[in-house]
Structures are given as C-alpha cells and as structure tokens.
C-alpha cells in the first residue's frame, strides 16, 4: 500500500473525509449563527442545545412514534424552528435594545435548562439512533487512479458522505436564498438598516422572528444528521458549539459564503493536523482563531464595524 506520513493512503483518505464531515457541521451551525447575529445582534449561545434538541427529537420520533430518519429530517427542523419562534417571541425580543451580553446570557440560561431537562428525562449516557439502510455501510473506492497501485482501496462510509453532501446542498440553498432572492434582499437590507426597511412597509419584527426560527431550524437539521453518527446525549451540543464559535470568529459575521467556506476549510485543516501532528488536533482551530483575531479582528470575511 502507498503511504504518506507513514500512513496508508486509505486511512488518510478516511481522515480527510471525516474532516470534511466535521466541516459540514461547522458550516451548517456557523451559518445559522451568522444569520441570527446579522439580523438580530444576538449571540445565540443556545445553538448547540438546539442542535442537541434536533438529535433528541429524531430519537423521540423514531422510538415513540415510529417515524424514521427521512421523516425526522423533514419534521425536526420544523419543530426545533417552532421552539425557536417561541423563544424569540417570549424572551429575546425584549433584549434587542440592550447590549449583546444580555442575549448571550439569556441563551446561555436556555442551554442550562434544556440540557438539564434532557438529562432528567433521558440520562446523560447517550442513546443509540439507527440510520436508514440506504445510508448504512461503506463504498469500496479504488485509489489506484491516484497512486497507480492496484492494492490501494478505500472504504468510504456512506453516511459520512451523505452528511457532507446534505450539508453542502443545504448551505448552498441558504446562500442562494439570502444572496439571490427578493426575500434575501429584505434580509440583507434589514441587517443593515432595519428602521428604514420597516419604513418601507415591511414587518421587520416578524421577519426577525422568522429569521431566528430559521437559524435554529438549521441547528435542528444538523442535529438529525449528527444522530446518525454518534450517540445522542444531552451534552453533544456544548462540546461542538465552542468550536463552532471559534469558526464564526475566524470567518467573521459579514458573509454567508464566508461562513460556509470557513466551516469546511477548518474541518479539513483539523483533519490534516490530525494526520501530521495528532497532539494539536483539538487546539488547532483555537490557535487559528487567535492568529486571525490578531491580524483581522473582524474575521476573514467580516466587515470592520
């Protein structure tokens, strides 16, 4: 077998795939955070909890109602989105005129409550979720076209490929909706100057509410994807969201495509570091964050305030 860094190329390929798959989650989650922050000036600390809620709802739909994965992909974002609408209506909208810190504190409180309730109901140890047959197993991918060696064969887990593809498709749809449609032009305009957009006759408060619901629904969608990869636990969101915040800081809040690209690229960088220098895997994103903050405080794609 061909090796790079003393590692068989098949294993290397798998690491890259896993990196891209992590990037798929970073992209989906940072996209939602960026849309919410742009429109509402709220740092949605509850994003991880809403992602976790998505995974749990998928589990609940299956084990209580017998509704499988594809139903979950459709219904869970709606349910989590509705939860988001309620949070916005009941709490967040009273904080818009205050400093960012208040939204952060409120959503942080929400994390503690939601996680607490889930631990109480389901325990902290984690629940299994079975993905559909269609997405089970692995594909044999010959790598001889790269290496020239007939024995280089890689087993690509189908579900990981699916996560990457689903994330790319959803991210691109969101990008298109925001950058290329009329509704998206309302959203961009209201991000810049909500007062004036409202004076044109657009009901901006409703738009803000729907935007939050939509951003939260994206987290719910990511949660369903995650349920097929790992055990569903009440704390699955907290560990991920810290990294996602670093991704958002690196990418900056200014650009939708920026958030998507930053997410995927950082997933990839993490994978490369894991291959080349495994000890640094867990910190590389934070090191990059510090470097970016020193050079471009508004992030790579952000606009200086």
């Amino acid at each position: 077998m061909t090796t790079i860094f003393d590692m068989p190329i098949a294993i290397l390929g798998l690491q890259i795939l896993i990196g891209l798959q992590n990037g798929a989650f970073y992209a989906l989650l940072s996209l939602g955070l960026a849309v919410i922050f742009g429109m509402m000036n709220v740092i949605n600390f509850a994003h991880g909890a809403q992602y976790m809620l998505g995974a749990f709802l998928a589990y609940i739909l299956l084990s209580w109602l017998g509704l499988g994965y594809w139903w979950a992909l459709l219904l869970v974002p709606l349910l989590v989105g509705i939860f988001g609408l309620a949070v916005e209506r009941l709490f967040l909208r009273h904080l818009y005129h205050l400093d960012h810190l208040y939204g952060l504190l409120l959503t942080f409180g929400l994390v503690l409550i939601v996680e607490g309730v889930m631990v109480d109901m389901f325990g902290a140890s984690g629940l299994p979720y079975s993905k559909p047959d269609l997405l089970q197993g692995a594909e044999r991918i010959p790598l001889s076209w790269v290496t020239g060696n007939e024995r280089d064969i890689m087993m690509m887990p189908v579900y990981r490929l699916w996560v990457i593809a689903a994330s790319i498709v959803v991210c691109l749809i969101v990008w298109f909706a925001i950058e290329k449609t009329r509704l998206g032009s309302y959203l961009r305009a209201a991000t810049e100057n909500p007062t004036l957009v409202r004076a044109f006759g657009i009901n901006v408060p409703i738009m803000v509410m729907l935007t939050y619901g939509f951003g939260v629904a994206l987290a719910g969608f990511a949660g369903v994807l995650a349920a097929g990869l790992q055990a569903v636990t009440p704390h699955m969101g907290s560990s991920l969201i810290i990294v996602v915040f670093a991704v958002v800081v690196i990418g900056g809040m200014g650009s939708i495509m920026g958030s998507i690209l930053t997410g995927f690229v950082l997933g990839l960088i993490e994978a490369v570091v894991k291959i080349a220098y495994p000890e640094a895997t867990n910190i590389v994103i934070f090191v990059i964050m510090i470097c970016v903050l020193l050079v471009r405080p508004a992030g790579l794609f952000g606009r200086e305030a």
Binding site: A189, N193, A199
Partner: protein, 237 residues
C-alpha cells in the same frame, strides 16, 4: 374651486428621544398635490417631524392624521402602507444590495406607482448603473436619485424627502428639482425638508419655518417676496 383634500393633518405634535423633548406642539397640514417645504436651521426639528409622521420616531404625543386616520399609535410599517414614503437625509442606500436590488427593495403597497421606464426617464443615470454590485458605490447624486426612485415604484402618493440636495453639485440639484416638479405634475404630494432656501422656494406651494421644535411661520408661494426679510432672519441665510 374646492380646496384639495387634507392628506396629512398634524396637530400639537410632541416628539421625544428618550428623555429629551424635541418637538413642542407642531401643527401643520398638507393637502393633496401640494409641494410643501419644512425650512429651518440645523437642529430645528425638521427631520424629527418627518420621522414622527413616518412612525420612525415612536415616542409621540398629539395627533397625526393621514387620510383622516389617526396614526400616532401605529408602527412605521403600517404607516408606509397608507401610501407614505420617506427618503432619509443619509439616503439609506444599502451596501449589501446591488443598485437593482436597492431599486426593487420597497414592496409595492398599492397600484399607481411608476414603472421602471418612467423612473429611467426621470433619472437616466440609474439605468446605466443598475448592475453595480454595491448600491453605495454610486456617487452621492446617483444615490440620492436612487433613494427617490425606489419609493416611486411602490404606489405611495405622499413623498417625504429629507434634504435631497444636501452636498450635491448644482447640475444634480437642478435635475432633482426638475424631477420634483415632474412628480408634482403627476399628482404626487411632496413634503420637502431643505436648507437650500433658494432651491426650495422655487418648488414650493407653501413653506413652513421651524425653530426649536415648533412651527414659527407659514409662508405661501405668493408671500415669499414680501416676507423675504423675515425668512432670512429665521434661516440665517
């Protein structure tokens, strides 16, 4: 000839920014088809008056009737739907929108707005700049024209323009003046805030003069000459 209907009827309007009381009992009327100016020194309360009518300044007391409907409790999105459009002093062109998106942004609220062809006849520069990626890449004059053009599409019949000529070259000021006259000829009702008294008085049917948050004088077109001295005193020109 019966007088045209009163479209905007402001009575004893007070407006506040937090603790600070800025308008102290403003009363004015705007009739259908009129061009009316609000004149006055910087800080007199002209912008605040427009923003209060538009519902952008929410802390208001008194009465603002638009087409007979009391609007003091309404948010700006509802007031816009009554056919009132506002061009802010800072123009409010969006940098994350292309020129075309800026133009098409305000939703149509009722039939009777200008079509794109009419808009381009009025403001030929905009057609050429339509594909510019960032609205704010336009020159100041082009941005002003775009800011006016975009609300003409919506079917709004009352236009409130806040200092549309501020900081612009004389040729552009002239072009905007012609556009305002063309709009008046099409039956638009226009409330114009101006520092440029010479420009404003040439267009206006009536002029209100503001000072320290109240209306201190109303000068009709016929009286501008005889009250020139008084106006100069108020405006410090």
């Amino acid at each position: 000839m019966p007088e045209p209907a009163i479209l905007i009827d402001v009575n004893d309007l007070s407006a506040f920014y937090g603790e600070s009381h800025v308008l102290h009992g403003v009363s004015l009327t705007i009739r259908a088809g009129e061009v009316v100016t609000l004149l006055g020194r910087n800080g007199a309360g002209k912008t605040t008056t427009l923003k209060s009518i538009m519902g952008i300044v929410r802390q208001r007391q008194g009465s603002i009737k638009i087409n007979g409907l009391e609007t003091v409790g309404l948010p700006s999105n509802r007031i816009a739907r009554l056919g009132v459009a506002f061009c802010p002093e800072e123009r409010g062109i969006f940098s994350s929108l292309s020129v075309e998106e800026n133009l098409l942004l305000p939703p149509i609220i009722q039939p009777g707005g200008l079509g794109l062809d009419d808009l381009f006849t009025l403001f030929p520069n905009i057609r050429e700049r339509l594909s510019t990626r960032q609205g704010t890449r336009l020159s100041g004059g082009e941005q002003q024209m775009l800011a006016i053009a975009r609300v003409l599409r919506t079917g709004a019949r009352i236009l409130m323009l806040d200092e549309p000529t501020e900081g612009l070259a004389p040729v552009i000021v002239e072009q905007i003046g012609e556009a305002i006259l063309a709009l008046k000829a099409r039956g638009f009702t226009i409330v114009l805030v101006e520092q440029n008294f010479h420009f404003a008085s040439g267009l206006a049917d009536r002029n209100y003069v503001m000072e320290d948050g109240v209306i201190v004088e109303m000068v009709a077109r016929e009286e501008v000459r005889e009250k020139a001295g008084l106006l100069q005193e108020y405006l410090g020109v």
